[in-house]
């Protein structure tokens, strides 16, 4: 192993992240019209989702045991996670296939920072955080319509479950994008995620037979919205947040393992 030429100047984690954030903010502020466009887009997609739900509820009283406003809480969670995906994951780790294909990853690997963290957070689409705000507002409004005031414990458990869900989704992206090291020609791997994530729009109990098997057990993506929403409307005990956090930690560990295995392959090919 070669000695680090600048042992004292190895940048710290937080400093790198802060610098990346500043850089992104400066860039995004040049395109302020994008904020309005992003907000309008978010409101439009929330409207279509609510109309879809209204259409289902024209013909039923409940969806998998969930009432209309309970599903709207879940929709708020879905939109919040969508915001995280569009703001952080797609512009960051989502660009990995392109980098692997064109060799841009070499530039990342030569930097004195953790490559996974750098690839994941170097580029943020800050305006898309409006989705996070809109999603939380929607969930809050639905709670009001339910006439339900969650306890402090339930709200805490909701936020822990929500962060755990974001971590799980991030882990899925890392694992999925690591496939790019094997399948270099597949440039739209993220489409695979988009297809599966569609299943997270509704509570897991709303799916019949084969679909439940796919979305709930085989690729348990639907849980990422169901668990936080269930915690907020009091359908599960607040203790479930501890379980969610444990699952998230395991998922993150597993994803890192996949990433490291994949990265060894890249180095092998490049060397």
């Amino acid at each position: 192993m070669t000695p680090d030429p600048h042992p004292l100047r190895r940048p710290r984690w937080a400093a790198v992240l802060a610098a990346l954030l500043r850089l992104n903010l400066a860039e995004e502020l040049q395109y302020r019209a994008n904020f309005v466009a992003s907000l309008l887009g978010t409101l439009f997609w929330i409207a279509t989702a609510l109309l879809t739900l209204a259409l289902f509820f024209r013909h039923t009283e409940q969806l998998g045991g969930w009432s209309y406003w309970e599903v709207v809480v879940l929709l708020g969670v879905f939109n919040t996670l969508t915001g995280v995906i569009e703001a952080v994951l797609r512009p960051g780790i989502g660009q990995l296939t392109e980098e692997v294909r064109k060799g841009g990853l070499d530039l990342v690997l030569s930097r004195p920072v953790d490559p996974l963290a750098f690839v994941s957070f170097r580029r943020l689409d800050l305006w898309r955080f409006t989705d996070v705000g809109c999603g939380l507002a929607l969930a809050g409004y639905a709670l009001v319509r339910l006439g339900r005031v969650p306890t402090v414990l339930e709200v805490t458990s909701f936020f822990i479950a929500l962060i755990a869900a974001a971590v799980v989704v991030y882990s899925i992206w890392v694992a999925l994008m690591s496939l790019a090291f094997w399948f270099v020609s597949v440039e739209n791997l993220s489409v695979l995620f988009d297809s599966l994530y569609e299943g997270a729009r509704y509570p897991v109990s709303a799916y019949p037979g084969a679909l439940r098997f796919v979305f709930v057990y085989l690729l348990p993506i639907a849980w990422t919205t169901t668990i936080p929403a269930a915690a907020l409307v009091g359908r599960v005990q607040p203790g479930v947040a501890a379980g969610a956090a444990a699952v998230a930690a395991a998922a993150l560990l597993l994803a890192r393992l996949v990433w490291q295995t994949a990265l060894r392959r890249y180095t092998g090919a490049g060397g």
Binding site: G41, F44, L55, F56, H59, V186, A206, Y207, L211
Partner: protein, 269 residues
Amino acid sequence: MSAAAWARRYGALMRNAWMVDLQYRAAILLWVLWGLAEPAIALGIWWTIAGPAEVGGYDQAAFARYFFGVMLVNQLTIAWDSWYLDRWIRAGELNFRLARPLHPAHEAVADNIAYKVRTGSLMLVVWLFVALAWPAARLPFDPAHWALGAVAVLLAAAMRFCISFTTGLLAFWTTRATAIMELHSGISLFLAGRIAPLALLPPPVGALAGILWFRSTLAFPVDLLTGSVSGTGPLLRGFAGQIVWLALWILACRLVWRRGIVRYGAVGG
């Protein structure tokens, strides 16, 4: 130009498109999968809602037929052209296409045919297996009806191509042409029958879908294949709607092209 010359040109364009798609076959497979997710989830939800009873005249088997029809027809009629045109115009990739002695629309049409032959045959195979394993999803077999269905699918594909192409041409004026296409796609979720058969929409909304072009782009061919639409009157009305709207979209496409190309020239010159 003679028919033989046209056939030769289209042969060359389609061979080219086919070879390009061949390089991206794994990526295309993922797009097909993506196209299946939405109707599969809609079917799942309606299946749960219907239970052992009926919803608006649809039982579980009828929902299965409808949404398997949607998967097939949507794959055969989907057009990505607004995304391509947006890139052609904004990145200047339109320039060398304009220099060719052939309208760029022909390349787009050939691309569409090659793409749909590839993905449509894949869908057909999947769909045959599903029909074999799951009788509920089987469409009623009636050669005359299927022939009419093929015509309706062809008309719908032509119209969706014109809509996508025209919307993509808006990139001559705005950088948000693809956002307009997304907007159209969001509306068609309901009005074209992607999320539910039109019969389940509130009646005024369902009627609006029939007056505008949306029903013609998806719901009508699907209903025709599943047998929900039959009888001379409804069939004639459905085809008339398709033909009138296709003609209007072709006109719109030509008009926007002519105006846009003048503007593009002015910017480039």
